[in-house]
Structures are given as structure tokens and as C-alpha cells.
Symmetry: C2
Subunit: 336 residues, 2 copies
């Protein structure tokens, strides 16, 4: 896991370089023939990447983007009207039947279809109109790292191409260097603070929510900690009743218009004497860990998950787990 996470900057550089042509093609395609909305098809970590894509589609293109309930198709065999929507599947292996079946049914019926997939000769790649290779190379660790990061950057590239967003494209070019800087951040404070945690709430907002979801899943997979992710708004509608003295909280407070609210939330939770680990921009005095920055605010979370992976891998080892082989899980999960 450590080794694969460390490869991520190189994966991103390779992806951006090698996918230049396909991204130009997709850009022309969707600018000429603009879909009304998007629909995403994914599971597990890839579904967290899909939620990043969904949010970017709203934020940068002003489009609705729906994470499809796959059982509508795989269990109920229901025909869903997707004629005005671009269908996007995200997967490392491209092998889970619950991704292949919906995308197969969407190939003719959707506005268009794209797979962001690492295994380009997989069954998933054969049932879509356009294949965007993740270029992550072989990934052996059960807990995805570089393939997840590659899914985020492929999502950002797709949105940048669709919207002709030059600044985002430039930000992606600089991203590998920024990721290397993120690898050097010292997040060890989180290790000491969470080394006795049995449960954690991970909080994010906007683009920080997919980051929180992915972090919570990795706490589960590699550390057997029952971590659950919430938006800082949703947590107030019930879950925060659990947060008492000593309760462990990881708060991802990314820069931008949502920052102020996240800092207020962190302050409230500290007043309640919760065990808060606040990840915030370096200017924020009360931060515990530095939220890394990139050349484009929408890419910051990619560097943050990179720093998180290295921290959680170390925490896993310290707790006596094997981060590469969580119990009861295998690398390729086939569900329907």
C-alpha cells in the first residue's frame, strides 16, 4: 500500500500525458453535443471518485449528476431513461457485473458513455463508447490508493475537457509536483490521536465529502476502526448526538467558501471536548495538520488523500494490522 501510494504522482503525470488525445476528442464530442446531465456507475472507492465527479459536474459545469442505484438494473432489470445523460463508469478492474450490466444497457440508450478504468481490456471497457485509461499500472494492495487517485484525476480531466476549463487543465499538469510535496507533510499527529480509537467520524463538505468517505473506508479496511463520513451540515441533523468528551473526529476543512463553517464546527466540537484532528490550510492557526494546496482549489483534495494514505498505512502497521491484506476482502469484488 505504501509503495503504491508513493507511485501516485508518477501515475498522474503518465495519465495526463498519455490521455491527451482521448481528452481532446471527448472535449470536442461533448462541446458539440452537450448532455443535459450525468449519471455515474461505480462501487466502493470508485464510487467515492464518482461523487467527486458528481460534485465537479455541478460546481464547474452547472449540471446535475446522479450516482445510479445499480440494483434498479441488476436486480429489478428496470429500463431507466438516460437519453439526455452522459453515463460514466469508474472502476479499477472493470470486472464487477453490477457495473457492466448497466453500462451495457446504456451504450445505445444514453447520450454517450465513458469508462474511467484501469484494466483497459476488461469486460467493462468493451461495453462503453469511450475508454479513458486510468494508467495506474498494476495495483496489488486490496486497499486502493493510486487507482483511486487516478480516478479522481481522470474525473477532473473529463470535466475540464467538457467545460474547456483551461485553468483546471493547467492545475492538473502541476499536480504531480504538488502531490510530492503533500507526501512530505507530517501528519503523524493523527497517528497518536487515533491510535486508541474504536470509532471515528470523518467530516468534509463539498469536494471534501468524497475525501471524507474515502478516508472513512480506509480507516475500516486498514485499521478496523468503524469510521463514518458526514458532511458538516448532515452531521447536525442527528449523528452529532454521539459526539461527547473524547470522541475522535477528523475534520477536513478545505479552503474556499465552505471553510468558515467547517472551522466553526471544529470549534464547537472542541468546546464539547471531542478529540478533534483538524486538517486546514496552513494559515489557520488552530489546525492540527496542514491541508495541502495545489494550483487549483478543486484539486486540493487529491493531495489531501495522498497525505492521508501515508498516515493511515502507518497507523495500520502500528495497530498490528497488515494494510495490504484486510480480513475477508479480496482485490476484485464481484457484486450484482
Amino acid at each position: 500500500m505504501y509503495k503504491e501510494a508513493m507511485e501516485a504522482p508518477e501515475v498522474v503525470a503518465r495519465q495526463i500525458e498519455n490521455n491527451r488525445a482521448i481528452m481532446q476528442t471527448l472535449g470536442r464530442e461533448f462541446q458539440a453535443n452537450d448532455p443535459y446531465s450525468l449519471v455515474t456507475v461505480a462501487r466502493g472507492s470508485s464510487d467515492h471518485a464518482a461523487q467527486y465527479l458528481n460534485y465537479l459536474a455541478g460546481l464547474l459545469l452547472g449540471k446535475l449528476s446522479t450516482s445510479l442505484s445499480l440494483s434498479l438494473i441488476t436486480i429489478y432489470q428496470k429500463a431507466i431513461n438516460v437519453e439526455r445523460s452522459l453515463a460514466v463508469a469508474i472502476s479499477q478492474s472493470g470486472e464487477s457485473p453490477d457495473l457492466i450490466e448497466p453500462m451495457k444497457s446504456f451504450k445505445e440508450k444514453a447520450h454517450s458513455s465513458v469508462a474511467l478504468v484501469n484494466a483497459v481490456d476488461s469486460p467493462l471497457a468493451r461495453v462503453v463508447k469511450w475508454v479513458v485509461p486510468l494508467q495506474a499500472g498494476e495495483e496489488k494492495s486490496v486497499a486502493a490508493t493510486k487507482s483511486f487517485i487516478a480516478s479522481l484525476t481522470a474525473s477532473a480531466s473529463l470535466i475540464a475537457s467538457m467545460g474547456k476549463l483551461r485553468e483546471l487543465q493547467n492545475g492538473l499538469l502541476e499536480l504531480p509536483e504538488n502531490m510530492k510535496k503533500a507526501q512530505d507533510l507530517d501528519w503523524s499527529k493523527a497517528i497518536s490521536k487515533f491510535s486508541k480509537a474504536k470509532r471515528i467520524m470523518v467530516v468534509g463538505r463539498g469536494l471534501g465529502l468524497p475525501l471524507a468517505l474515502e478516508a472513512a473506508l480506509k480507516f475500516k479496511e486498514t485499521c478496523s476502526i468503524q469510521a463514518e463520513a458526514f458532511s458538516s451540515a448532515e452531521i447536525k441533523h442527528g449523528p452529532q448526538t454521539l459526539i461527547q468528551k473524547g470522541y475522535p473526529l477528523l475534520i477536513f476543512a478545505n479552503r474556499g467558501p465552505g471553510l468558515a463553517d467547517l472551522l466553526v464546527f471544529a470549534k464547537e466540537m472542541r468546546a464539547r471536548k471531542a478529540q478533534v484532528v483538524l486538517v486546514a490550510p496552513k494559515e489557520v492557526r488552530e489546525k492540527d495538520l496542514i491541508f495541502p494546496e495545489t494550483d487549483h482549489p478543486e484539486l486540493d483534495v487529491i493531495c489531501a488523500i495522498q497525505a492521508f494514505y501515508l498516515m493511515v498505512e502507518e497507523l495500520s502497521q502500528e495497530l498490528g494490522h497488515n494494510p495490504d491484506r484486510p480480513k475477508n476482502l479480496s482485490k476484485v469484488t464481484r457484486t450484482k
Copy 2:
């Protein structure tokens, strides 16, 4: 909470009777002028009702339905293209700014807009084209019960009207009687099995997922148990690594084409010696609790949450909590 939950059958009967005219109007409106997709705007329990609506829209109308990330509008002030979508807000109080602001911006721009709301003179009701009263009467308990059930039935009524689904409409007419039968089910086995639980995973599939989400939230709010909900497919992509000997699991296995998979999952978890409480149709030999049935399979989950509420209220009391007043929560939560 107990008293309000017991009022739910009467609330549903009143809602169906009193909303007959508005539902006919909405039926005519949307049959004449069919939206391409739906977009829902809600928080907390109401967002679980929205997920029920989203799934029904796919299952019975073949339409995409998106749960909107509210921060796109409330924090980023982003204009989202909703011109081909019916916007549906769901709320008890109709007062949270993060519902009002998006619906206000959608009033002119969306295909149409509807609020399913209990407080019909609330700010939310004033910014939508159509108001569907939940008819739940005053709700005092912080943990929503009858208003949540009323949100589910209003969602089902809306879908039935849009699709001219006579059988679903008839099922709704019979629902209050079926709910009373569900109130008499003996779910006390769950109380003894969960009385020492600190964490629980709640599993559902399809229409059972909103049920699992709502049950998990109520375990948190009324019992301070960190319960998290998953679909039986999603749980295999990581979270199940936590499920070891003695781990408490509540599995909602509703009848229909998803049942077989849910029973296999329950069997696998029992083989792992997890503490499984299986809610399944009465014919299923290995069930622990009976999953109530109605005249229409899509309404079964409404009776199931009714039975769950009575069980969890008793569990809360047994654990020494006050189910009506969870710590750190208030009845009306205003977020943005």
C-alpha cells in the same frame, strides 16, 4: 416518540384522504408535461425519504432522480441546470435555509417544483409551485417518526399520481390497516440482541436501503449506538472487513427479486458468527423478525420502519436514554 409513532396510521389515512385533490392535479400536470428527471432537496430523515422517492422514481417511472448536494447552491452559489427536472423538497418544519435557497432558485428554472412539507405555512412552502401537506400534525419528539412515515407515503402518492399507478394508489388506501398490524409484531428479540451493542451495521437493498439509513440514524439518536447503513452490495466492497465474531448486524431482507441475495449475505455473516438479526418475510425459516407485508411490495418498508420505531424506542428506554430528547439536538435544525 412512542405516542407519535402510534399516530402514524391515522396520519397516513388523513393524508391520503385530504390530499386527493392535489394529487389528482399533480397527476394531470406531470402526465401532460413529463419531466425528464427528478432532483430532491432534503436533510436528515427527510433525505432518507428522498432516497425512497429517488428509488421509486427509477423503479416505477424509469426516471433518474438525484439527491442534490445542497452546498453547490448554499455555499458556492452555483446555478444548476434543472430545466428538465422536477424539483422535490421534503421537510417537516420547512425552515432550514439550505432547503429554501435551492428551491427558491428552482422555482422559475426547474421544470416544476413541489414541497412535501408538514408545516404548510413555512418559508419552504412559499417558494415552491406546489405544496403537498404531510398532514402529520404537530411533532414534538426530536426523533422524527410520524412525519418521516408521512414523507414516505407522500412520496409514494406523488409517484403513483405521476405514473397513473392504480395498484400503488390502492395499496396506499390499505396501508393504515397494514401499519396497525405491523405495530403488533413482536420485535423484542432485537432489543435483547442489541442491548449491549456499541456499533451496528444495518443492511438493506433497493427500497430497503432508505429503511436501513433511517434505522441507523435512529439507533444513533435514541440509543447512542454508532450504527451505519450499507447496501448488501456496497458492504462487500470494504466495510465487511469489520464483521467478526459477535459483531451486531441488522439485515432488512424485503420480499422481491433482491431477497435471495440478502438471505445469502445473512447466511455468510452467520457463518462468521456475527450477531445477526434478520428481518425477513414470514415464510423465511431463518428469520428473527417478521418483515411486514402490505398490498403492494413497494410499501412494505413503510410498515417495517413503523415496527422498528416501536422497537428502538423501547431499546432506548431500556438503555436509560430519553428517546424524546437526544443530547445536543433540537427539533428544528437550521443548516446551510
